[in-house]
């Protein structure tokens, strides 16, 4: 489906029937599809489709740090490279990493670090490469979610997964999971991420206007929506192995029943 982005933002971000422009309710997420182990040459990898966002993540490590002066003698480091492809947005994006990409790389690294045991791997680095193939709002949240999956797929010991989501305010109402247009034309944007081993926020950014009550309410909304995404993350990690298990069971049943006949 071609992605149509108009230069002018619509005046109203709600349709007449009370739904959002893409037909969602206020608390409804965009459709999410996740898969792990998609890249053969990476130690761990994952792919995510979140609405119109399409993102790959690859994890390598532990391995030597280059340039060497970045290595820490007492612990490992986590490096995240968030990049957008030139064709991922409406107007061609210049391929050189800009200010925005460096910022997002940094916040994702800071957000994922608490769940890793970096102190066990001194002098090494874990590297996460995130490539945004198609972008439509909320790529930093989607990237954090998919990076956590890729880390788990690489078999790196982790305390828990990390899940991330943006809450926003459009036309004076709080909504979950902002799309591209809502992000640009809306009043507020609140991306947050949670680490599940202690149920605490690992990322919280804010842009726009919101009252304190609205802020509290939006964090509650976020928690419910994050749980929904977390289930999908768990499912994506497990389903790959469960599918093989079920297939082999089926094979065995066939062969034993065939033997009896």
């Amino acid at each position: 489906m071609p992605l149509v982005i108009k230069d002018e933002y619509p005046e109203k971000l709600f349709r007449e029937d009370g739904k959002r422009l893409d037909g969602r309710d206020k608390l409804e997420l965009r459709p999410i599809k996740m898969e792990v182990g998609v890249l053969n040459n990476a130690d761990g990898s994952a792919y995510l489709e979140w609405g119109n966002n399409k993102i790959f993540a690859a994890v390598y490590g532990p391995r030597e740090v280059h340039p060497h002066h970045l290595a820490k003698p007492d612990r490992g480091i986590l490096r995240v490279f968030y990049r957008m492809t030139t064709f991922s947005v409406f107007e061609r994006k210049r391929p050189a990493p800009g200010r925005r990409e460096k910022e997002i790389s940094m916040i994702i690294a800071d957000c994922l670090e608490p769940v890793l045991f970096l102190e066990l791997y001194p002098g090494t680095s874990f590297e996460v490469f995130i490539e945004v193939i198609d972008a439509d709002g909320g790529t930093r949240c989607a990237s954090t979610t998919v990076a956590a999956l890729a880390l788990a797929d690489a078999g790196i010991p982790m305390k828990s997964l990390v899940t991330s989501l943006a809450i926003g305010k459009i036309d004076g109402e709080l909504v979950v999971d902002l799309s591209g247009i809502e992000d640009k034309a809306g009043e507020a944007d609140l991306p947050c991420a949670i680490t599940w081993y202690n149920d605490q926020l690992s990322l919280l950014q804010f842009d726009g206007d919101m009252t304190l009550e609205e802020m509290n309410l939006s964090l509650d909304l976020a928690k419910n929506a994050l749980k929904e995404i977390y289930e999908k993350q768990l499912n994506a990690l497990k389903s790959k192995y469960i599918a093989i298990q079920e297939e082999t069971l089926k094979q065995q049943e066939n062969s034993t029943s065939g033997g009896e006949e």
């Binding site: 532990p62 030597e64 010991p157 982790m158 305390k159 082999t248 062969s255």
Partner: protein
Amino acid sequence: MEEEQEVEDFEEEGEVTREIVVPGETLTEDVKNFYPGRGAIFNKEKTKIISLSIGLKQVRKNYMNVIPLRGFYTPRAGDKILGVVIDKNPVKYKLDINAKDLGMLKPKNTITRDKRSMGRGGRGGGRGRPGDRNSSNELSTARFNIGDVLIVKVLSADRLNSPELTTVGKYLGKKMGGSVISIGPQSIPRVIGRSGSMIKLLKNLTNCTIFVTQNGRIWIKGESIETERLLIEAINKIANEAHTVGLTDRIQEFLETELKKRGLK
């Protein structure tokens, strides 16, 4: 005939459930009767035991373990591993051992000091005799070349320094011919099987020489390229289905049917 070394058994005693757990998932909330074992920790409040990686849940005595399905190789002293010489200088060889650091192999760890050569060294003046293999090779790196495939043993390894290797020992040394395949180090116990049952099966059915090493690499040499290929397929199948039950039987069936189909039997 090479023999694989003893490896911690995949499912020796203690029941392995076929339950797949992911990082952060609760293994049990019964913290009074269970302790976290391999691949598991208490949470901060010590109210439950959580998994650290994606793997299979295992209960052994009163320990909760997670047998990982994915992961990387960390060298430990005593491991027998397969390395490829990628660099050398007059004092040491550097080997790619599928770990974070390169393995270091010093020439003094590549030669056997048997009684006779020790005696000669002790006499003094016996060294440096022309044509004496031991003395001429003693401290140079002429023995192996870049690209050689070596089976080595880890002498010492820690988190900070490059692991030190040796080629002195049973079954160790340079491997000629054959092919090397690489699978995840976590699947290696499955290729060996319970007390070596799987590897015996593979050897018997394909008549190949197999050397399984702990860093996830397997060296194989068969009578023909066809059997080698079949063996590689079987090993990849094992690695892919490492978390399922009845694997040995299925591999036996697979090999027997494929051998017949390909006319190798």
